[in-house]
């Protein structure tokens, strides 16, 4: 088997890798926004509960979570496809990390922003949606992009629950062709080709935000 056919074989798994990432984002983005904001706004018992949920998804090892949900949910009568379970676990894990960026971004804003909003008579919800969140999310954009890269890399795990992603395809090819160097080097390169452009976007965002801050400071 030539290196080209190995590449084409691994490429067949790209669709699943991309799908899991996409579905994962469907879970990650709302979770990060809702729980990040909730952790920022709540106090007392509610705050403790929100923190517990976030810590559950963030502090567990994602590979263990995936297997627990894959094997334990059917036992209690919940049958989900491997794709759904994978997207949920990977998404909520990434969302747990990203929620901390949302919260930190909100906390880092100057208090004057909130006070100015209140002084203008804006309702709290409008201040959050129109004043605080836009600034916090832009400031945290590079961090979100880093978490997106972690999510893409995390999708390699779905090969362990029978989904035919790039890693699964590489292992399949390895069974019919003894060429570990070619196959696994190609696999690493395949992920590099997917993730590196995202990393470049992250650096671009970082420099744009840095430039924006410098410009604001000059005013």
């Amino acid at each position: 088997m030539g290196i080209l056919s190995i590449w084409l074989g691994i490429l067949e798994g790209f669709r699943v890798t991309a799908l899991v990432t996409l579905y994962g984002l469907v879970f990650a983005v709302p979770f990060a926004l809702v729980f990040g904001v909730a952790q920022y706004l709540t106090r007392g018992v509610a705050h403790a509960l929100v923190t517990c949920v976030i810590e559950f998804w963030r502090s567990s090892a994602v590979i263990i979570l995936l297997f627990v949900f894959y094997y334990a949910l059917p036992v209690i009568g919940i049958d989900l496809s491997a794709m759904t379970v994978s997207a949920m676990v990977l998404g909520l894990n990434a969302g747990g990390y990203a929620s901390q960026a949302v919260r930190a971004g909100l906390q880092a804003l100057e208090r004057g922003q909130l006070e100015a909003g209140l002084a203008l008579g804006l309702p709290r919800s409008a201040i959050l949606l129109l004043v605080e969140l836009p600034q916090a999310l832009v400031a945290m954009a590079p961090t979100f992009i880093n978490h997106l890269i972690q999510l893409v890399k995390g999708t390699a795990l779905v090969s362990l629950v029978t989904l035919t992603d790039m890693t699964f395809r590489a292992k399949e090819i390895a069974q019919i062709d003894y060429n570990p160097v070619g196959i696994y080097t190609s696999l690493l390169l395949a992920y590099f080709v997917v993730c590196y452009p995202i990393a470049i976007c992250g650096r671009w965002a970082q420099s744009r935000i840095g430039a924006g801050r410098a410009a604001t400071n000059e005013l």
């Binding site: 567990s60 263990i64 036992v75 590489a170 160097v181 696994y184 590099f192 993730c195």
Partner: protein, 219 residues
């Protein structure tokens, strides 16, 4: 099939029995990653060409999944006649994967030292070795302590990946029990809960240590 609580409890001792293995893997991998990462960062500073090459190596490692690295080392090393135990390959894999991240930690830790420190040390007549050892290194260590602690927790959370190359850590033991008894939900749930507890305890310990270090540094 129901969730058998008695059976679940009976798996606890087997899985807690390998908690020490999990911790040793995390410590060894973190040390390996720090050594490799420091090496990468030092070579990166040696000039334009090595700088460019090491930048690429660091970006490549950061853009590829840990699972792909484990497969790569596990199957490629024997191809070249290098036979290592699964445990060694696992520690090596985590070390390689995290070296890319720790190189960035060292970079930030070194960049944060003011230039004047180096100049002042040379001005009072310290030679190059003394400058590095007694002036720059202590400051760098203080700068990297907090991020190093966070990465230790990350490495710990990556140790269950080693189950895919048959290293008997917590997730691996859970799968051993599962394949002997044909019951997956119970041992995996137990492994998940125990691992979450371990991760939370270590995270707390790392935070306390960080606080102590910061206090000591202020004194």
């Amino acid at each position: 099939m129901n969730f058998d609580v008695t059976f679940a409890l009976s798996t606890v001792p087997t899985i807690t029995g390998v908690m020490a293995t999990t911790m040793s893997i995390a410590v060894a991998s973190c040390a390996g990653a720090a050594l490799l990462g420091f090496g990468l960062e030092i070579v990166r500073r040696m000039g334009r060409l090595p700088g460019f090459a090491m930048r690429f190596v660091i970006d490549f490692v950061r853009s590829t999944p840990v699972l792909a690295w484990l497969y790569f080392l596990y199957f490629v090393l024997p191809f070249y006649g290098i036979r290592l135990s699964a445990l060694t390959v696992g520690v090596l894999g985590l070390s390689v994967y995290y070296s890319g991240y720790l190189a960035e930690v060292f970079k930030a830790g070194i960049d944060a030292i003011p230039n004047g420190q180096h100049e002042a040390a040379r001005a009072v007549g310290l030679n190059r070795a003394d400058t590095i050892l007694f002036v720059l290194a202590p400051q760098m260590l203080r700068n990297i302590a907090a991020p190093m602690g966070n990465y230790f927790v990350s490495v710990l959370k990556a140790t269950p990946y080693l189950a895919v190359i048959a290293v008997p850590e917590m997730l691996g033991r859970a799968f051993d029990i599962a394949s002997e008894t044909y019951r997956y939900a119970e041992p995996l749930t137990v492994a998940g809960l125990l691992f979450l507890m371990l991760a939370l305890v270590v995270t707390y310990a790392v935070k306390q240590l960080e606080k102590r270090l910061l206090q000591a540094a202020r004194r």
